[in-house]
Each structure stands twice: as structure tokens, then as C-alpha cells.
Symmetry: C2
Subunit: 173 residues, 2 copies
């Protein structure tokens, strides 16, 4: 496989790769390499979760999400989830539970997001980065699911993290 790097940004890398497919054909594909990320559903109580509303330039506005962030080099996804949760919301998790992982959009990126639920939250303080504008939105888990079904929470990682967490609680048949 021949690869030509086109761009290396702060955290994405874009390259054009000559790929031999399993059937022997050669194709040229653009790929966005990403370090991966973790996303976490914070449980404030047995049936209340903490969503965030965040300005996302790529989304053209403010959207609902769960706390999430990129993996630092060599960072364990569960540690990343705990770190991002505390930075973005000011809650330290006593316990996290793995909910699996997703390919966000495997047609053009290798990005994987590891999904977690966080429990036993203890208030510390929010530490936002310059480009983070985050509002905390506590909601009943059932209301969060309703936001998914109604289309008001279109973010894929957040939706799948919430659905996996709800299923573990027996909320989905």
C-alpha cells in the first residue's frame, strides 16, 4: 500500500492511499486518520443523565451531545472518558462502565469512539478549553431517548452511548 500524506493538522491527518482490495483490484482512497475518542453518559442518579449543549462549527450551531473528547497519545479510553467528563462538566466519576465502541463513518475515516456510562459522580470544577462552549443540561434518561427518536439529538456517538446505557438498564426491549 502506497500512501501520500496530504495534511497533518492538530489532530486529523489526511492521506491519499493506493489500496489493494481483497479481490486484487487497486483503488485510490482518501482517508482521514484520527486518534480515536471516548464519549460518556454521566448518570446523576439512576434515571437522570447529564447532557451538554455545545457549539460545533462543523454542525453550524449548538447541538446536544454527551461529554466526549479525543484520546491523548497512548491514553486508555476509560481514562479519557473520566478526564473529559471532569473537564467538560466538573464531575468526577467514581465508576465507569464500557458500552462498546463505534466507527463514526468508516467510508472515509478510521475514527473509533469508545462509549461509556459514568456513575457515582462527585462535583469538582469544569475546566473548558478556549474553543469549548458548553452548557450542562441534566435530563431524565427517558427524555434523552425521546430527543433521539424525535431527531433533536442527531449526534451519532451520543445517541448510541445513550441507547446502549438505556438497554443495560432494561429500558429497551
Amino acid at each position: 500500500m502506497a500512501a501520500r500524506r496530504i495534511y497533518r493538522g492538530a489532530w486529523i491527518e489526511v492521506s491519499t492511499e493506493e489500496v489493494s482490495l481483497p479481490n486484487g483490484r487497486q483503488v485510490t482512497l482518501d482517508i482521514v486518520r484520527h486518534p480515536g475518542a471516548a464519549a460518556v453518559v454521566p448518570f446523576l442518579s439512576a434515571d437522570e443523565v447529564l447532557l451538554i449543549r455545545q457549539y460545533r462549527h462543523a454542525a453550524g450551531g449548538t447541538i446536544y451531545e454527551v461529554p466526549a473528547g479525543k484520546l491523548d497519545a497512548g491514553e486508555d479510553p476509560a481514562e479519557c472518558a473520566v478526564r473529559e467528563l471532569e473537564e467538560e462538566t466538573g464531575y468526577r466519576a467514581g465508576r465507569v462502565e464500557a458500552l462498546g465502541w463505534i466507527f463514526t463513518t468508516p467510508g472515509f475515516t478510521d475514527e473509533r469512539i469508545y462509549l461509556f456510562a459514568a456513575y457515582e459522580l462527585e462535583k469538582t470544577r469544569q475546566r473548558l478549553e478556549d474553543d469549548e462552549l458548553i452548557e450542562l443540561v441534566p435530563v431524565p434518561l427517558d427524555s434523552a431517548l425521546e430527543l433521539i427518536w424525535s431527531g433533536e439529538l442527531p449526534d451519532a456517538k451520543s445517541s448510541l452511548a445513550l441507547l446502549h446505557a438505556a438497554r443495560l438498564l432494561g429500558k429497551l426491549a
Copy 2:
């Protein structure tokens, strides 16, 4: 907003943009512009769906998905869903139902994928592109959901399309 285009590929465009946030701060962000896509859950019967197994270079192997593809310029998402379904599987849909749309990963791309269910399928013929290696995998809808919960179907658009379709059928509480 100042934008500098870094790369224009066959269907992704990468740029670095100087963005004024709602709080007045200026930040520089990399963004991958994407034309959008449609994904569709094909119903072979009331309780059987057609998954595909597809080689994805970015995923490093073959993964389960539902049929999907990029929007042509100006194309209606529902028309795209019908077209991609027939190209990838050789089934023409008599009827499609909109299931909403998702942001795949709004931290770095504006890609939206529109989700559909397709019914009243009629066999025509598969027309694959050179870079498509697709195996058809009919499964009961319940088994498709089990693949999501077990982590064997990590593709985000496919999981969310299946979950929305299952909910409309009363399969999720």
C-alpha cells in the same frame, strides 16, 4: 470567517477555518466538508432485513453495514437511498420511509447521513462500483439488533438506522 482550502478530493474537502465563536473568541479549526449521504434498512419481510458485509479500508477489514452512499449533487436523500439500495443489493424499493438524520462526527466534519427504511422490495440486479466488495446478509431484525448490542455491528449509521426502524415497529420500549 476566513477559510483556507487544504485539499479537494473526489468527495471530501479539507479546510482550515478561522472561526469566531459565539463568545467572541477566535479559533482555528480543521474541517472535512462532505456532501452528505443516505443509509437505508431494506426490509425483505416484516421481520427480516438485508445487511451487507463490505470491505472498508478505513476500518481495516470487512464490516456489517446497511446499504448507503453519498448524495450526488442536488440529489434528494430519499432518491439517493433508493439508488444506492438497488446498486449495492439489486433490490428496488417500492416505498421508503424517512427515519431522521445524524451527524456522524461533528467534531471535525459536517457530514450528515439521512436514514431510511425501505419496503416492497423487488429483485433487479446488483451494480457494484470497482471499489465495492459487498456480500448480502439477510437476517431477522432481532438478530441485527443483537449484533449492535454485542458490538459486532459497530458502524454508527447502520446501528442508528436499524434502531430507529425497530422503534417504529414497536420493537424497543
